[in-house]
Symmetry: D2
Subunit: 359 residues, 4 copies
């Protein structure tokens, strides 16, 4: 209720500030008797961790997850899975100058006003560091989904103005991890990397888009009328730091189409019913129809820039902020595993929910 939990049946609750002792979480409702590959979970964290390439923040954190409960002899027991990730990089001194100052487009001002107090060391609770816990839960969700034949993949489709002009169907997503920007098209990836390096050199930041696709989702996931599958997917994505927009299927471009162009005709063959086109994005009436579920998530440029900015302090006095610290020039390469995690958690949650429809 205070907003630190996500999911109805597969529930992730997280805790932790960027510069506290540790971050962590509890996964409640994880199905029992699932054999977990703990190394694979760590690998997902490594895809998100800082310092992994030259185009992300050079901060150093190993982001090693420790599981404290809910797993016995390599299998889930049905009990809640508690886990922690130690914060190794807690040099509070870097942040002492921020105690009384509100950084532009950060959460400093809103947190201070809402809570009447603020952990001013880094972003505190508002730091994207919290998303590491989502990646842990997402990695577990993915391992369960794959047993059911469901896969989730995300990739960078836009950095600044440089965009892929191909849909996920035309891309070879097995190539996403080949480039440090996580764009599966080699040529566009290189342009994106150049753009990010250029922006970083100028002490600035740039936004981008992460696209995702879920394959193998069975018919029937999603609960009318408020908990439509895409509504909760949208909430999942919009809850990620820096996200400003979400669309699925035909999305914002679909508004320009005629109904006769947009409608997806049903066809039928030996494999059952499917649709000829997929403007619906695999969801009709809020419920998955068996087609691929796909969409886009828009990330704004990171607020921390290496340039001087005007702002105000607690007393409302004008102050000048220097650009300091080690931050991402563009968040999307590291956001890919986070988008995958939130999609996986959401789909698994609805998979469990779908089981309660019939006795």
């Amino acid at each position: 209720m205070a907003g630190n939990s996500f999911g109805k049946l597969f529930i992730l609750t997280t805790f932790g500030e960027s510069h506290g002792k540790a971050i962590g979480g509890i996964i409640d409702g994880c199905p029992s008797n699932i054999e977990l590959n703990l190394e694979a979970i760590q690998r997902e964290l490594d895809r998100r961790k800082p310092g992994q390439s030259r185009i992300v923040t050079q901060r150093k954190e190993s982001d090693t997850v420790a599981f404290l409960s809910g797993i016995f002899n390599g299998k889930t027991t049905g009990a809640p899975i508690g886990f922690t990730i130690q914060n190794e990089n807690q040099k509070s001194k870097d942040y002492s100058h921020l105690e009384n100052t509100f950084r532009p487009s950060h959460a400093d001002y809103t947190y201070a006003q809402k809570y009447g107090t603020r952990d001013y060391r880094g972003g505190g609770r508002s730091s994207a560091r919290e998303t590491a816990c989502r990646v842990v839960a997402g990695a577990i969700a993915k391992q369960i989904l794959i047993i059911k034949g469901i896969s989730i993949e995300a990739y960078v489709s836009s950095v600044g103005g440089i965009s892929l002009d191909k849909s996920h169907k035309e891309l070879d997503l097995s190539k996403t991890e080949d480039s440090i920007v996580r764009c599966p098209d080699k040529k566009i990836a290189e342009q994106m990397i150049s753009r990010i390096e250029e922006v970083r050199k100028s002490g600035d930041t740039i936004g981008g888009v992460v696209s995702f696709v879920a394959k193998g989702v069975p018919v029937g996931l999603g609960e009318p009328v408020f908990d439509k599958l895409h509504a909760d997917l949208g909430k999942a994505m919009l809850s990620i730091n820096a996200v400003k927009g979400f669309e699925y299927g035909s999305g914002f471009d679909g508004v320009k189409l005629l109904g006769s162009e947009h409608n997806d005709s049903f066809i039928s063959d030996v494999d059952g019913v499917s649709t000829e086109t997929n403007n619906s994005g695999g969801i009709q009436g809020g419920i998955s129809n068996g087609e691929e579920i796909y969409g886009n998530v828009a990330f704004k440029p990171v607020a921390t820039i290496m340039q001087q900015q005007d702002s105000v302090d607690k007393e409302g006095k004008k102050v000048e902020l220097d650009g300091k610290g080690r931050h991402d020039p563009c968040v999307v390469p590291r956001a890919v595993p986070i988008v995958e995690a939130m999609a996986a958690i959401t789909v698994l949650d609805f998979l469990l929910r779908s089981k309660a429809t019939q006795v």
Copy 2:
């Protein structure tokens, strides 16, 4: 949990199918001792109802709401508010041909698969008729919000390719209701109306965008980290029938900006702290910052078209569907009060939630 409730503290639960006896709902958690203007609630319903103008469906429903509880001597009592809206237009015969057929891009197929049965009279539960109940709850939420100085306004900003090129700041939103398409710019409105009439004549449909703005929202609404204010606003909008995308503040366009362009500088004057620009859309770190909250909601073209379409039936056999019935050529004029309702419910819910932060 089965998806027919929205909100955590101000909770709307709805029931009803398009061709059942009635639709209705329960509003639980409505603050007590609020004097309600019941005529104003009905007026909001009238903005949504069919038959209101030549560019919407010509179906006839008076959409009269009857309140059954929770209001005594004109005031809310704190008890749940039960209400019903009778379905006057229940001619099931219009729909008998649909018993075994799945209409393209409707929810027929997914409902049938999910539930193993289907109320095939019209859209049943998947019909946008359900949104009338949202408008009732939204109208009550609006009346409470206005006491706190908070207003919610929506308008049509795009129909097909015809779009406003002005932001809400440059528009006179008091003119929205002057045009049947609910676009506040008279010239663009006329173009939109022409486009809808043209599309209707061809038996087709077209999509559009509804924009919204919430003014007067105090600092501090929104719960980190999963229940960010914009995440729940996004879910609220994405749960409306036919919505394919949501963005707030700078939205999808913001991804092209540099951090130095996107950041909103804080300034301070006698009225307190504010921001010079508002790319943040009034929300920072998921919490309202006192600026105007604004965004866009994308609606796809209505799936029911007056043209012949291919489809399949229950057994997977190919069938031809004739275009029948009286449907909207474009949903956005009637969607304006729905978008307002969902925004109002969401903001009021978070207003109540914010009260629980401090003892």
Copy 3:
């Protein structure tokens, strides 16, 4: 969240005041494709309705339920089931003398203080009339449970000091409905009836105990650690008007036993594992173990008595209250179907929850 909903997956939300237009509710999460016997639902309501015998209130209400949605061609569709029960007995004049007065041990004072206003016609929302809606949902739950071989039975085991000295195992529960007091032992039933008539003649009221037993509950229902099956059963019962206590299995008497006396030995035969004794009341570690689940629910004497009582009014001035109206001298005969309903709703909810434990 405002307390008018019960259940996590099979969710009942109710509305309505004793003297408003109607009471009613929404059942969300009802499994689809279940053939419902609507007459059987009405029969359950008839077991609860006023005027059914000489030992209950002589108020007249037919308590006829009307279903508005969620049922099509006799079967549940998976959509929410909306229903109403009209209030036929709305003579507000009977209650005008209560506008400014707080009746002893009623909810008048606490409602007025909590909400700053009060529907003073009868009990308003605090009236036990609301429980009719629980009986509707419970009757549906029972019909679903019986398909799975689960039955729920309740009976009166004590009125004032007159108590059954037999456990449910020694009683013939098919005889419960043979007596108007709903005690399956004819001799004790007659004593109870005499006691109630005596108490009624003196213008007084008396308390009692309703016992329940659930048979055929499969192993595995109940969620550790907070949602133990008996914890939610206890909450379900304690939420019924006038309930002061709940115990299950050995209950309060169990505290006097030694562990060696209390422990239920496991035995095994062709039918599988069972226990020799059942002090555990069919629940171990909060999870059903396949044995019969049984317990007791304590009801205080009804607060409305036909005697003069001292009280205070809104201004704190002393007032004398006359005994008026038509009320139950003892609530337990009519509480039997309510206890059954709450048990059925709870068990069905956990049955649905148990499905989400494994993928």
Copy 4:
């Protein structure tokens, strides 16, 4: 939803098995800006910890809590409070004989059946060790409640057949901690201690009752109709390991009273409205009325006894179990802080919920 969370606004989620690495939890929704006394939290844990006296288990655990987040410069920040308690006593070898065996009246059988697997080291998740996390959250809740003038006290009122015959009003609760059995009446306490020692010597266990009283609770806490204050208090208590019953106010004894005896007359003086008697237990219509809230919680005898018992193994074969390990002969002395914790968490949760009733 999987049952490891408690509360709606002040929410405790726990994790951990008795013989895993650690137990712990997350408190979400804790009001911000509260100065916490961490030593006082540890003192509450010390009241629950094993080895504290000769009449409890002699197992050794320091039960030291470590806070990982949500507290900054000694104050709560509004962010979730993550905490862990290391398990120091993880000698799994003690439990290897239990891998295939179901101990009578333990949760071994039901967990194995429900989850298809089981952490057989000690009680695993079903161990009362989990309640240490409740004590942490309860200790924080108490510190917040006391700021609002609300205190919660519990004490042992019965061990086996030895019972206090005084109500909380006649007792000096400041003396509860003077005796190792936590009964405030010295003479009865000594009898209880002798009884427990006697039972322990015979390798057996015995049940008991913990009584509680909450003073200073303001009028207005509790949500009709399902979330009555006593219904959630009841659930809170029934969720504690080994609890078999709950009653409040007049409780089970109240069923024998006449309405004219049971009703609590309102009186009014300079301090406002109060009641002459308090059979209502401080709650009317599910809402606190300003009087003292009190009740009783029944604990069965601990299932682990130091005697040989018959049972069955996984294959249903008969086995003999030896009494092994170090367990409590009577759980109630250590249950006192747990009952207080659950009461405190519940009351604080409703205090926060009451804030959302009016805008």
